[in-house]
Subunit: 511 residues, 2 copies
């Protein structure tokens, strides 16, 4: 294929990726500061900043005056997540501590961070093995990835009309997202402020519990760490026992922040700015709360009846109302929003409970949030479109548009959502088989349910799975081939599948 | 709900179901004749005929002059398969032999027959336990079910425009199906003749192999039995070892008949009547052969490399070209067409081979054939529609219709196909969980892969699964609850999902 036939200005895309990398040096100052405070891994972050800035400038040199069309936009978005994931391995590799010093593991951990997945291959999550600065970098990758997703979902994807993404804001009555503020840059700035503000609020509340004597181990470091990984529905915790390491008060406080993190950010912004009533009228938000409520009730019933004994973390006996309700609420909210925190080792819960949790991994957060998976708004449209299909089966002559909040949903958006959801299931199915076969090849003992959880969890950017990849386990034992495959799933899943797959078509590059 | 508000003339539907039941007495004369010849179970079939005729007349009395609209058509179709499945249990129950004397098992076996699924709960498939007449009834239920499906798919569903079924014949260039002959009744008669003719040809060829000394155990009874269960892609065999009980020559002869059984019947009819070239030009037929060819090559490679040792039936060693090719071809054709015969105990093949086979269970035969599952034509449209979606992601302004054989496919048909395929996957997923959880509840040891095969195989009307429900095993060990659930899956799957689900909506009954 000769260069002249390409119809994509890939240099422009790569140049802008360079700009993103160069700006990455600014947040890198934060783990550097942590390294200076604790006097460990200082040079690691100095080296990383130098490399990132150098690489950024080099890439920018490819096209000093980049001009992006929609096509270059797709390429830039896909390459950005790939590039930051690659660059994000530098601290792990230079520090050289633990399992993430190995390149494939470093890439897995870094992609898991920037895609806000939270699946880990760290064999030992402790400050003995890893410095506080490295762990803060791990948390920070999620927070940065989440910010990128909010900007992408709210300000960029709707402009590109990607597979139903234009719907994301169809629900907000009144002015559309483009009227939130007149320009994309302004919208992004507003959302960035909200994102920072809510993160700060959580840090303050969590540390406040410590000051009030209700959470002895919620140090300031821990408060910041969990603040940074809640809003992006990330789920990385510097504690090996995740939120299970903390008091019940902490667990209850984290729940509403996860709920907010899974809510359409434009809706949150409007609700905070004087229109809280919109929340109650929003179809997607109601479906979101409804699903979480119903599944929580079901799971709380199962946990109340069976309890969860014999676990290292979050064990409880049958009949304890508060424990059953807390763990059910926390786990359902954590998995529906695709945060991935845990308060109890649900990989050791009953079979029935695990299937309930497997289902919740497909729900996903709201459109325009940092949540992953299929997303509530798509499920709402799929259910309505299937009901419409049943209706027109009986009334073939009827013209029966699908409506959301009284507005007719464009048929192209419905098509896009069907295509997305079907592709998602096909990827899940094929991915599960890939993982099982590869595990069989390498002698890693894993059953099909565990493989299903691995695929659903990485593709949906959820984080933990079942079995040895449970919430207090890791993905370490998978082969490098499986790990690279999951890196691909996290990347594809995070970017809404279609915009990445399109890069693999000839029509994208030449037509 | 008061009767007066119902908008469906259910009496008309039930009356016509009565007519179908009454006519069922005619083919019942065949197992009666077998019973007379072998002097066993004669009274069983006399009693069945009396009951069926009586019940038929009683139901017809509900509405002596039934008049069917489309809505009554749906109800009649769904009720017919339910009614014949219920009535079909009578011989098993009255004969009282073996495991199928138990009501739930009898219903499972009967529904499996009439839906041409071929999943069995017979604990002992032998003429010691069951009379030749009862076994012939079992084969005959599949042949009758297959005839019903051909008439339904080719002559009735397209009239009702069900979820993409109108597409079924979009592929045949030249005159549409309605021009095959001017009237539905005439079309049905023509297809019935073809169905009978091809069945007879297979019986003659199979018995011919016996006469020629190439198949000592292919008795005339066996030739008829397998003739009756190939064309409906049924898969019931009176031999416990299925086609594995016969010589390689028999196995090779059965393959092309399964291929024909999975081909659009209108296309077969046209090909036989002087237009064989149409086969080569038909997109669906080419995709059908292409998929079978590629998967066979893959599986033959796996079998050639690994062999399949230690099996009771169809064991072979690595490196045997003919064995690897024959078992790969037979099994892929058997599962893609959803026939379900076996020549080797594939439940004992390597893990990789089983996953390949699991995938083939989703492909399905052609539209307008007796094959089940998703069906090739829907996959062709799904793949084209997803490619269109990728294309319009890059070119949002483009108007890009999906074409089949040069003709634009109606967007409503595409919607219907998307809805069907997604519902199919959701049913598969939910069904698998149901089966696993219910097996756990009753202490039946089954892994998730086996449960997936059970759901895919019953929903897709394939027949065998893996593990204890392998091709030479049975579904006997499932709990009654799981069995009734699978009866539902076979019924829903056979009738293309949407026409059955629509009966569970309020809009069907009242709007
Ligand atoms: K996550
Ligand atoms: K079958």
């Amino acid at each position: 294929m000769s260069r002249s036939r390409l119809r994509v200005e890939w240099r422009a895309s790569v140049s802008l990726v360079g700009t993103v990398l160069r700006y990455l040096s600014v947040p890198l100052a934060f783990p550097l500061a942590v390294a200076l405070v604790y006097q460990r891994d200082v040079l690691v972050f100095v080296a990383t900043i130098v490399l990132v800035v150098g690489l950024g400038f080099a890439l920018e040199g490819l096209d000093p005056d980049p001009d992006l069309g929609p096509r270059e936009g797709f390429l830039m978005v896909a390459l950005t997540w790939l590039a930051v994931a690659l660059v994000g391995t530098i601290p792990y590799l230079v520090a050289g501590d633990g399992t993430v010093a190995q390149p494939v593991n470093a890439l897995f951990e870094s992609m898991s961070g920037f895609t806000t997945t939270g699946a880990t291959v760290m064999g030992d999550i402790s400050f003995d093995t890893h410095s506080r600065a490295i762990m803060m970098w791990r948390q920070l990758t999620q927070w940065l990835g989440g910010m990128g997703i909010v900007v992408l979902a709210v300000a960029i994807l709707p402009e590109l009309s990607v597979g139903g993404a234009q719907l994301m804001d169809a629900e907000a009555p009144g002015p559309g997202i483009e009227k939130l503020t007149p320009r994309i840059a302004e919208t992004a700035r507003v959302l960035w402020l909200a994102y920072v503000g809510i993160t700060a609020l959580e840090v303050v509340l969590l540390y406040g519990l410590n000051v009030a004597g209700m959470a002895p181990n919620m140090t300031f470091y821990n408060a910041v760490a969990h603040g940074l990984t809640t809003m992006p529905t990330g789920g990385f915790s510097p504690e090996a026992d995740s939120i299970g390491a903390f008091s019940a008060a902490v667990q209850w406080v984290v729940v509403p922040f996860m709920v907010v993190a899974g809510t359409n950010f434009a809706l949150v912004w409007r609700a905070v700015n004087g229109s809280p009533g919109r929340l109650a009228r929003d179809t997607e938000f109601r479906a979101y709360l409804g699903v979480m409520g119903v599944v929580t009730a079901l799971l709380a019933g199962l946990l109340f009846t069976n309890g969860a004994t014999g676990l290292d973390v979050g064990a409880f006996v049958p009949g304890d109302v508060e424990e059953a309700l807390r763990h059910a609420t926390f786990q359902v909210v954590s998995l529906v929003t695709t945060t991935g925190y845990a308060t109890s080792d649900f990989a050791g819960w009953s079979e029935a409970s695990k299937y309930v949790l497997l289902f919740t991994m497909f729900v996903g957060g709201s459109g325009g949030s940092t949540g992953g998976a299929v997303k509530i708004i798509r499920w709402v449209v799929v259910v309505k479109a299937i009901r419409r299909e049943l209706f027109t089966t009986v009334h073939p002559e009827a013209v029966s548009p699908v409506r959301l909040a009284g507005r007719v949903v464009d048929e192209r958006a419905i098509r896009g959502i069907f295509a997305f959801t079907l592709l998602y299931f096909v990827l899940f199915f094929v991915g599960t088989v890939f993982v099982v076969v590869d595990a069989g090849r390498t002698g890693y003992s894993i059953d099909v349910l565990e493989a299903m959880s691995a695929t659903a969890s990485t593709l949906g950017n959820v984080g933990p799975g079942f079995g040895s990849l449970g919430p207090f386990g890791s993905y370490l034992e998978f082969s490098p081939v499986s790990k690279l495959f999951m890196v691909f799933l996290m990347w594809v899943g995070r970017l809404e599948v279609l915009p990445v797959l399109v890069l693999f078509t000839g029509a994208y590059w030449r037509s």
